[in-house]
């Protein structure tokens, strides 16, 4: 396995399965913990921990107040930041964010923008004066492949958990008053879910690749769909060429996955709401 990893894998792929016993189209066990009671971040306004097999990603959302930009006076901001600290995998060094972290941050920002998950107008409190800024910090704690899927999932779960306090602007003083006792959940319009595939030898497609599989793969595809079956993002950064038909297969699989994930999130949220 260490000397000829590709050959080792090819033997499994010929039998249509993978070394860890999964089928080509099977995902790893997904677990998600949301909220202050189950999740570790107590200082954040919303948090979620997602485990996709061994890949562990934690997302914390902090809401702060700021003045909106001059040209978009009724819009708030969402700032995602993906970090791959050196503790999660030996190939990441400490220091400024590497290319992978930056590309992932950009991807998450695009997904939020494309899917209209949070409409920026909802984050506005007073036109031109005050708006919410949501800082979403996504940190990978253990990297075993499929970072993008886990990050999108963690972000979605954390945002569902966020409770924004009611803010009113005092007319006389012009200052804002934060009412911590009254909290409203964030309005999330769409639920995008990412599904990643690894391409082997220009033909085989496997779902949810582990780190080992990603290294051996000749390319990756990530498809983000929302509940209406619309494509929020198709991300295929290079790698072996795919025909349109293969891409279509990926999309169909992604739509099925989206439904499973949505059910999982709803189940977890229902289990913590009574608190």
């Amino acid at each position: 396995r260490t000397v000829e990893p590709l050959e080792y894998y090819r033997r499994f792929l010929k039998e249509n399965c993978r070394p860890d016993g999964r089928e080509l189209g099977e995902f790893r066990t997904t677990t998600v913990n949301i909220g202050k009671c189950l999740c570790s971040i107590t200082t954040a306004d919303g948090s979620a921990l997602v485990k996709l097999g061994n890949t562990t990603v934690i997302c914390g959302v902090k809401a702060e107040l700021a003045a909106p930009a001059v040209d978009s006076a009724n819009k708030g901001y969402i700032v995602p930041n993906v970090e791959l600290p050196s503790l999660c995998a030996e190939r990441f060094r400490s220091g400024p964010p590497g290319e992978e972290a930056q590309a992932a941050s950009q991807f998450i920002a695009d997904v939020i923008e494309n899917s209209q998950m949070i409409v920026k107008e909802d984050l506005c409190i007073a036109n031109g004066k005050l708006a919410w800024v949501l800082y979403c910090d996504i940190i990978c704690l253990d990297y075993d492949g499929n970072l993008l899927d886990a990050s999108v999932f963690a972000l979605l779960a954390a945002l569902k958990n966020v409770q924004l306090p009611l803010v009113m602007i005092n007319e006389e003083t012009g200052l804002s008053e934060v009412n911590l006792k009254q909290k409203n959940p964030l309005i999330i319009r769409k639920h995008p879910v990412a599904t990643s595939f690894a391409i082997f030898d220009d033909t085989l497609l496997i779902v949810d690749p582990t780190a080992e599989e990603e290294d051996l793969a000749t390319g990756t595809v990530t498809i983000v769909t929302d509940e209406e079956g619309r494509l929020c993002s198709v991300h295929k950064p290079g790698g072996s060429p795919l025909t349109g038909a293969k891409l279509q297969d990926c999309i169909t699989r992604a739509i099925t996955r989206q439904k499973e994930v949505k059910k999982l999130i709803d189940k977890v949220i229902k289990s913590i709401t009574p608190k």
Binding site: Q102, Q106, F107, L231, P237, G239, L242, G244
Partner: protein, 186 residues
């Protein structure tokens, strides 16, 4: 295409730094410099897209332990920037004489709010569009080498854009042929 212009400079295969060299293939590096400002997160993700696309076509195994650097400077941006970069990158690779498995070209499609598909949108059209899809199409069998979308669209719309992009790729490959012919016919 149009007013968007990107200057591409390719250096390599050259001696690679020990920390960056790969034992069995060439190490490809892409640097994208915007017209104004310092390169930010957006440039990084574009660099990653370009790098992995080029890695898939360049036969790196023929030049192990070397470094190939591709530097792209944006001269003007009037829409369809990513596919302009892709085309510039491919032509630079061709011009440098690097061994390539296949040629590729970049095509951008904009999906208008009323459903019509526009190829190579201008900046104005990109703003109004509901979704923008950029594909890198390979010259062999017109397969999809790279795909990225901005905005949401339905699956059928994506397939339509892909088909339109594949047709447009033919025109661009013809342009490649003409340019190369002109260059070498002196």
């Amino acid at each position: 295409p149009g007013d968007t212009s990107v200057l591409a400079g390719l250096y390599g295969p050259a001696e690679a730094k020990v920390s960056k060299e790969l034992p069995d293939r060439a190490a490809l590096e892409v640097l994208l410099r915007p017209k104004v400002g310092l390169p930010g997160v957006l440039e990084r993700s574009r660099e990653q897209l370009l790098r992995q696309t080029c890695e898939a076509v360049v036969l790196g195994v023929l030049h192990p332990r070397t470094a190939i650097s591709l530097v792209l400077q944006v001269l003007s941006d009037a829409g369809s920037l990513l596919s302009c970069c892709l085309n510039a990158a491919c032509m630079a690779l061709l011009d440098a004489g690097l061994p390539l498995a296949t040629l590729f070209c970049g095509v951008t499609c904009a999906l208008q709010p009323d459903g019509t598909i526009l190829l190579d949108p201008t900046a104005q059209q990109e703003q109004e569009a509901r979704a923008i899809l950029t594909f890198a199409i390979a010259s062999s069998e017109r397969k999809v080498l790279m795909a990225t979308t901005k905005g949401s669209c339905s699956v059928e719309e994506m397939q339509q854009c892909l088909a339109a992009a594949q047709r447009a790729a033919n025109t661009i490959f013809q342009f490649y042929r003409d340019s190369v012919r002109r260059r070498y016919s002196k």
